[in-house]
Amino acid sequence: MTGHCEPTIVFSGVSRFYGEVLGVMGVDLLVEAGITSLVGPNGSGKSTVMNLITGLIQPTTGKIRVLGIDPSDSEALLGRVGYCSQFDSFPRGMTGGQFIDAFLRVHGFDSRQAEELTAQALEVVGLDQAAARRKIASYSKGMRQRIKLAQALAHRPQLLVLDEPLNGLDPLARAEIIGLFRSLAEQGLSLVISSHILHEVDLLSDQVVLLKGGRVLAEGEITAVRSEIREHPLQINIRCSRPQLLASQVFGHDSAVEVRLHDDRRGLLVSTTDAPSFYLLLNRLVLEHDLEIESVAPADENVHAVYRYLVGGDSEDR
């Protein structure tokens, strides 16, 4: 476990080129414990960042520390880090159980430890013994994702790096795996996840890192990232009694730049450039006019909106 003060991952001015092709450029990152999502379009550098974290590739310039270790020291690092890559490939001819057991032994575990850890990992990802005895080549896409995940976490890492782990899973399985990630995070494991599925990123993440063209556009908790985007006013949904009255009161105030009534006339959408002032105003109006408030919630304080504002357009798979 990392100390409370020590960040899980630190990138300092990291660039990585593949020949003349840019992977990432001048990346400074500070990832704390918890669940961090890497978000960005294809080619934005997500996999490059993950490969750099796990030491599979080395930076062209800059420094990286993961759990306080230089990733080039794979012997020290890889007992504490698990990586579930995006690549859908496995050693040929192995069953699911053999695959996990064999690589646990390569980690240095003895046969009894490997056997126990294999059984536990399979149970965690929801693969039964019958599945473990089948050749991986006969697995469905979802089962292959699960066996990759089991392999990545079987040696009990402190940091789990997951490249598109929800790909190929049906909605039920996705919900299960998201639940698993949450439970692992609660047990003290740090997770770095890349995903195109933004509403699931929202559900999962303690913090996000937005990448585009090999550069970090924003990082941190999503509310903090959203508040930094000043050119797009924050949108707030309010469900209340007498929304027309509230709209007329809000309309002339400086902090509200746009007010729209909901189609069902039971609420309104307010765009504001100064959320704290607006919330104060709202409190005052509620008390003055004795309004009944059903809910107040930001409408675009989520990864999807932040992605749209910063990256432009939509991700290809929401």
């Binding site: 593949y18 992977g23 294809n42 080619g43 934005s44 550098g45 997500k46 996999s47 490059t48 490969n51 796990t54 599979l56 590739i57 080395q58 794979s74 012997e75 020290a76 690092l77 890889l78 007992g79 698990g82 990586y83 890559s85 995006q86 690549f87 490939s89 496995f90 050693p91 040929r92 001819g93 064999a102 690589f103 032994r105 390569v106 980690h107 240095g108 575990f109 003895d110 430890q113 126990e116 850890l117 536990q120 392999q151 040696h155 009990r156 490249d163």
Partner: protein
Amino acid sequence: MNTSALERPRGLALWQRQFFATLRIEIGRALFSRRSIPAWLAALTPIALSGLIFTLSLFGAKTEGSARSLTMYYFYLVLMVATFFGTAFIFVNLFRGDLLDRSLHFYFLTPMRRGVLAAGKFAAGLVAGWTLFGLSTAISLEVSAVAYRMGSSSTYPGLGPSTLVGYLLTTVLGVLGYGSVFLLLGLFVRSPLLPALALWGWESINFLLPPVLKRLSVVHYLKSIVPVPVDDGPFAVLSEPTSAWLSVPGLLLVAAIVLFLAARRLRGMEIAYSSE
């Protein structure tokens, strides 16, 4: 399982455990996976051919031979064709096969020294090669020797145990020598087929080469170990053979150097999963 139960050994004990874990995986892949089919075919070819000769002898065909014809059979078919190409399939695939399957990263994501990985894979290749081509040598030579002896006017006394051991030792060193070269080809060359064929050509014309160049081949050292000398024919450029006492340590030294180079290459090797 509690944390202490998850402890792994350190240092040499860890490397040893990782070496044997790699060996276990790779022997399975080199001998019992789809990837091993070409090597099996190469190993079975001399056995099939000697079986054919034996069958013909049963039907009274003129199959008598001599120690010289047996050594030619061994040298040009068992060693220069079966063992050479079989070893190529095994050793090139140790790393190139994993790169093509895109499965090498599973090793790279374990806390194992790349040198231990190189040693484990190389040892697995040797075990697979020695098993396949040792058996191929023993069976094909024994069956051929029986067929030679059964020939109607044969005076061939048969294959003695010490001679067979000599052939087996030559095969063992052949697998070591060629395996070393092919391990490097698999690591350094993207498409090893042409270099492998070029090497085969070089080894095949060894008898025509001047003495200095002869020494730059594996076959030159193997010739000094074969129990019955190989006749290179009337066009051969004569040279002093290297003694077995130099050939054997020489091939071992080559294998050690190759292992060192392979470990160095692996230490600098990177794997990127996507095209970004």
